[in-house]
Amino acid sequence: MRGKDVTLDSVSITYPNGFTAVEPTDLVVEAGEFFSILGPSGCGKTTILRAVSGFIEPSAGRVLIGGEDMAGSGPNARPTALIFQNLALFPLMPVWENVAFGLEARGIGKKARREKAQELLDLVALGDQGDKLPSELSGGQRQRVAIARALAVEPAVLLLDEPLSALDLKLRQHMRAELRAIQKKTGVTFIYITHDQGEALTMSDRIAVMNNGVIEQVGTGDEIYSHPRTAFAASFVGETNRFEGRIADVEAGMAQIETPLGRFRARNPDQLEPGSEAMLFVRPEAMRIGGDENRFEAHLVRRDLEGAFLNLFFDARGTEIAVHVTNDGHAPELHDAAPMPLGFAAAQAVILPRGALARTGQELAAQ
């Protein structure tokens, strides 16, 4: 295994203009792990990556790579390689020289460089493109050159800053699989930044969900999707329905929350006390038509066909409720205007302290 672990020990980062982009953060990324940092634009992802690669020193705290304190070592002295958000290929050098640049910097002879570059270009399926200029490649090919160039210096940690964001969907899906395969093959620690949750969920061993300079939750994709620990994590990753209210009653691990739509029972991982302001989150696919342990009335207002699935949107006294059902011919039709009972199981819903939410698509579009 070639990868090394990365530890952030109460790292906080304040820019010279006084803006604190990263609040004090503790984080351990295991050696050889595919670790994603997921968060909305401007939350501080790039800032963290630049602190790990050595372009900025943390204002407080320590960055350790393989147990070694990195304070004072610049980017050219760290066992990391960064793939920039805009790739930053060298435009005047042919592809193979781009790939071999790190070897050149280590004083390796031209023949050995060319061979190693060829090997890496073969790895990323660009074996016959070595003599082109970066401007003569497609977006996906450039992407792979950037990856080969970073791998050439045999980094222990590869840092990737939204490298796929410029690609179209098909290519992006293909590159995800390829990145994952390269990571498995090389055993290098990957720290992968994205604001695309699908990307994070499909590729990562673990994910950190970040908002406003704070890492809100670290866990596997399953943990974060099924057991979100903050209102932000619940609303940012995947779709969710939200009910706001006040805790009315608590019992072993569960709680009841009083909402405008009624009193609902759900998991209470934070052991909130009665009286506290809280939010209940439940995924659209956990909603049941016909009611369940928790129930309320709503009427259908929209019905979007997605092929195998149907996305139903209900109105429950002004609150929009999303319900995903399989398209098995039993789903209600739009002309069923009468209110119908909806519900969900207590075990599939979670009550969390009231907190900042991810912006909805509507809010982003209104900006």
Binding site: S53, F55, N76, A88, F90, A105, A150
Partner: protein
């Protein structure tokens, strides 16, 4: 031109006069710029001295051949006889020598200034910018005089060396501006990526920054060369007993019997070279884009 067919008459009149004024001004400007050049070129082929275009005495190229015509022919010509050809050639040699010093010095200083101002972000930047550019804005006479005074205090006699020093102070500003403009367009990420791959700052400079700057360095060199060759006022004050091409032409032009048309011939050659250079540059950059 504006389409006037749908405009009401009064507005039409106003537009006409505005358009008319603008084109009259444009023509006046062009005449003002190019008529003297045209007259100079014409008179350089006229067989009379002092130069004239109104009294045409016949076509000649002797003002051009002055520099290599045989000694006897030179002696036979009443106008050319009085000119010191050897001195003229040696002053031209001095100009080449000065330019050969000034161009690399200005490129080095300009490059250093440009890198400093674009890559070293600090509060002192804007102050530094003014300090580095102020010689370009200062009157040339002041630069020449201060170089003279400064170096004579240090015990250096005025001569080619002081010319080089005086010219470099302001010519270095041109490469700096040209290189800054290009450096600002190079994304910082490229240099960061190279550093991240383990390159030393020096290698980053040599492998990325310099190749990227190469075209700008070439144009900066040409501009510095021209600025150095044609400089008169600063050189005049810093030259001491030495002479350059520009100061020598200046001296010839002050001839009490009117200046010899040789100057017009030299001027015509300079114009021809400049136009050829500009055409070549256009041609080369077209081809560069076509690639």
């Amino acid at each position: 031109m504006t389409d006037l067919s749908h405009t009401p008459p009064r507005r039409r009149l106003r537009l006409l006069t505005a358009d008319g004024l603008l084109s009259a001004y444009t023509w006046a400007f062009l005449v003002f710029m190019f008529l003297p050049l045209l007259l100079m070129i014409l008179s350089s082929f006229n067989d009379t001295s002092p130069p004239s275009v109104t009294e045409w005495q016949g076509f000649t190229t002797k003002w051009y051949t002055f520099f290599w015509m045989p000694e006897e022919t030179l002696r036979a010509d009443p106008v050319l006889r009085s000119l010191d050809r050897d001195r003229f050639v040696s002053c031209f040699g001095n100009s080449l020598y000065v330019a050969a010093m000034v161009v690399p010095l200005s490129l080095l200083l300009g490059l250093a200034g440009a890198v400093l101002l674009t890559r070293w972000r600090s509060r002192a930047n804007s102050a530094l910018w003014w300090v580095l550019l102020s010689p370009m804005l200062a009157p040339g006479i002041v630069l020449g005089l201060s170089a003279l005074v400064f170096w004579s205090r240090l015990g250096v006699d005025a001569g080619l060396f002081t010319i080089v020093m005086a010219q470099t102070t302001f010519i270095a500003g041109y490469p700096m501006l040209i290189l800054m403009a290009r450096l600002q367009r190079q994304p910082v990420e490229l240099e960061e990526a190279a550093l991240d791959l383990g390159a030393t700052p020096f290698r980053v400079f040599r492998r990325l920054t310099l190749p990227y700057l190469a075209p700008a360095l070439a144009s900066a060199a040409v501009i510095a060369l021209m600025a150095s060759m044609e400089n008169y006022n600063t050189t005049m004050f810093a030259k001491g007993g030495a002479c350059t091409f520009a100061t020598e032409i200046g001296a010839m032009a002050r001839n009490p019997n009117g200046h010899p048309p040789v100057i017009n011939a030299v001027g015509t050659v300079i114009i021809a070279l400049t136009v050829a250079g500009a055409l070549l540059h256009t041609f080369l950059s077209r081809r560069e884009q076509g690639r």
